[in-house]
């Protein structure tokens, strides 16, 4: 039998098979199902349509408030109230509501709800973030999530695998986000990664923190792929210690596994990288955009709202002031991240530097909450999407970069290279 990739192995194991082939359809066991304030009520309604009033395992259906908290409008407040009621009705063990809230994908990984070698799903497009700990993470529709809530299973098309072998040494101020954006520019969004899983491996991946791995896997959906995965290693073991809500074991691709394509990237050559407004694959090395004026800086989201990201911007802004023409908003990805950043003193540093800090949520990322963009705004964001109108007004422009670039630029009011501070 030919070897299998980590994703093929997980799908085989979780569907009770010896092996699977790409393009095959299989039903796998689901370790956890995530749903959130925005679509959660609908998901429970669909569960009832299946004739079920109880979920398959109340410890493994994870409910999170992230898109709408704290509610900015009466309509959202009402939606949240209905959502709370439905979660309570179903006696869900893990409900991360306002006060314990965070962006669902951050919560899923940080609170140990996803484990290596298993399959977890969520009713939001960035559920592929779970690949960071060696899980298969997939975004699904409300009906698929309801089915999984009912029977603990979901069907999948086994994806073709594409390998990114990442070597070299990370340069100072260069982050996982820069690698993501670099790959974006390298591949272009031309459809050839559709339905594929991207496997990241190699020495520079082993050297990457869990936060960086989450950024990398998070953005695979924006690359047009199905998801991304990093096989568990020592970093994963360390990260999951005291966190994992369940047992797990190591799993890796076979040496003779088949890949649709293999790409080599040497991070030694990657510097800070920026995505130009409107098109995610219109990528420029920072040298080409240095000096570009902007007026809003945003760090947060399921892509870059983690402790490591906040530590980076605090390091850059410590003892300095945000430029008077820039509004800088930081929204930590979860309550845990917020608390850790407070304890480490980062929040004090940032507030002193003139950064506004808001309670964890998706914030302005999807243009429906805190800090949305208006006409004429030019936003430098550490988020994941920059299409027209994404953060609010269609007449705003969004540049995407790492938190390090956002912070360095916030000091000068124009896009700046953090390596030249």
């Amino acid at each position: 039998m030919p070897g299998m990739t980590i994703t093929e192995k997980i799908m085989a194991q979780q569907s009770g098979r010896d092996s699977v082939r790409p393009a095959e359809l299989v039903w796998t066991d689901i370790y956890t199902v995530m749903t959130m304030d925005y679509l959660g009520k609908q998901t429970f309604t669909a569960l009832h349509e299946l004739g079920k009033t109880e979920v398959f395992d109340k410890d493994r259906v994870i409910c999170v408030s992230d898109h709408l908290v704290p509610p900015p409008t009466a309509q959202f407040a009402t939606m949240l109230n209905e959502w709370r009621e439905v979660v309570r009705e179903h006696n869900i063990t893990h409900f991360y509501d306002l006060g314990k809230q965070g962006i669902a994908h951050q919560i899923m990984v940080e609170q140990g709800h996803v484990l290596p070698g298993t399959v977890s799903i969520g009713t939001d497009s960035h559920a592929n973030t779970y690949g960071a700990v060696g899980a298969v993470g997939n975004a699904v529709s409300v009906s698929d999530a309801a089915v999984a809530m009912a029977i603990g299973k979901c069907w999948f098309r086994v994806p073709e695998s594409v390998k990114f072998h990442i070597t070299g040494t990370w340069q100072p101020y260069v982050m996982g986000k820069d690698l993501s954006l670099h790959i974006m520019g390298m591949m272009h969004w031309n459809g050839h990664l559709i339905y594929k899983t991207l496997e990241f491996e190699g020495p520079a991946i082993h050297a990457l923190s869990m936060a960086g791995r989450m950024t990398l896997c998070n953005m695979t959906v924006d690359l047009g792929a199905k998801n991304g995965i990093v096989a568990p290693d020592e970093v994963t073991k360390e990260y999951l210690k005291g966190r994992a809500k369940g047992d797990w074991s190591m799993i890796a691709s076979d040496a003779d596994a088949h890949y649709d394509a293999v790409y080599e990237v040497d991070v030694t050559n990657i510097g800070p990288t920026v995505a130009m407004p409107d098109k995610l694959d219109d990528i420029a090395p920072i040298e080409k955009v240095v000096g570009t004026k902007f007026n809003k800086a945003f760090v947060g989201t399921c892509t870059n709202g983690r402790l490591e990201d906040i530590a980076m911007i605090a390091k850059i802004l410590e003892g300095k002031q945000v430029h008077r023409d820039v509004n800088f908003l930081l929204v930590p990805a979860s309550t845990q991240v917020y608390l850790d950043a407070l304890k480490a003193g980062y929040i004090t540093t940032l507030v002193e530097a003139g950064v506004a800090v808001d309670t964890p949520s998706c914030a302005a990322c999807a243009g429906i909450h805190t800090g949305v963009a208006g006409d004429g705004d030019i936003v430098l964001s550490a988020g994941n999407r920059n299409m027209k109108g994404r953060m609010g007004s269609k007449n705003a422009q969004i540049y995407l970069s790492s938190p390090a670039v956002v912070a360095a630029s916030a000091l000068t009011g124009v896009i700046s290279d953090p390596r030249e501070l």
Partner: protein, 179 residues
């Protein structure tokens, strides 16, 4: 199990976007295969921009290149519209993930078959065996091997969709056997 399907193919050499299969003014219509079929493909080609224009051609299969039904729209009318127009399977190099899941959840096989678009012309007569995955072009003699269709896809189709299918499986206690 599903039976062998035979019929005429419609081939698109261009990208086919979900928002062209069902144009914007029908995005909010009710899900109803007969209704959704009336204007299916209206945005893909001018010749189909008339009531029942695509349906009246009597195609059984669609053949396309990459990213069939792509463009990020998750509307289910795309799938029910094609089914209502008599489409029994779609063969393409790749599919949008959103619409692949919708199609499977309604029981319409979306079959990945590399380069098939190079070997079929609109109007060619095709034969497809869901059990073996063999696609034959009866007009030219060309034959391609795709993966067989998972048996549950036909079962979903005969149940009228994923939700009904699962409801029955829960009721008769066989949901746990799905794999």
């Amino acid at each position: 199990m599903a039976h062998i399907q035979r019929g005429k193919a419609w081939v698109s050499e261009k990208y086919v976007y979900a928002f062209d299969i069902i144009i914007q003014k029908f995005w909010t219509s009710a899900i109803d295969p007969a209704e959704n079929a009336k204007w299916v493909m209206a945005g893909v080609d001018e010749q189909f921009n008339a009531e029942n224009a695509f349906k009246n051609e009597g195609y059984t299969f669609i053949v396309a290149g990459h990213n069939f039904a792509g463009g990020g729209k998750s509307i289910e009318h795309v799938v029910t519209g094609m089914m209502g127009a008599g489409i029994q399977a779609v063969f393409a190099d790749s599919f949008s993930r959103l619409q692949f899941r919708n199609a499977t959840n309604y029981g319409l096989p979306f079959i990945t078959c590399k380069d098939i678009v190079k070997h079929v012309k609109t109007g060619d007569e095709l034969e497809f065996n869901p059990d073996t995955g063999i696609i034959k072009n009866l007009t030219t003699g060309f034959e391609a091997q795709a993966l067989p269709v998972a048996p549950f896809v036909a079962e979903i189709a005969s149940s009228g969709g994923l939700m009904e299918f699962i409801k029955r499986k829960i009721a008769d206690g066989t949901a746990k056997d799905l794999r």
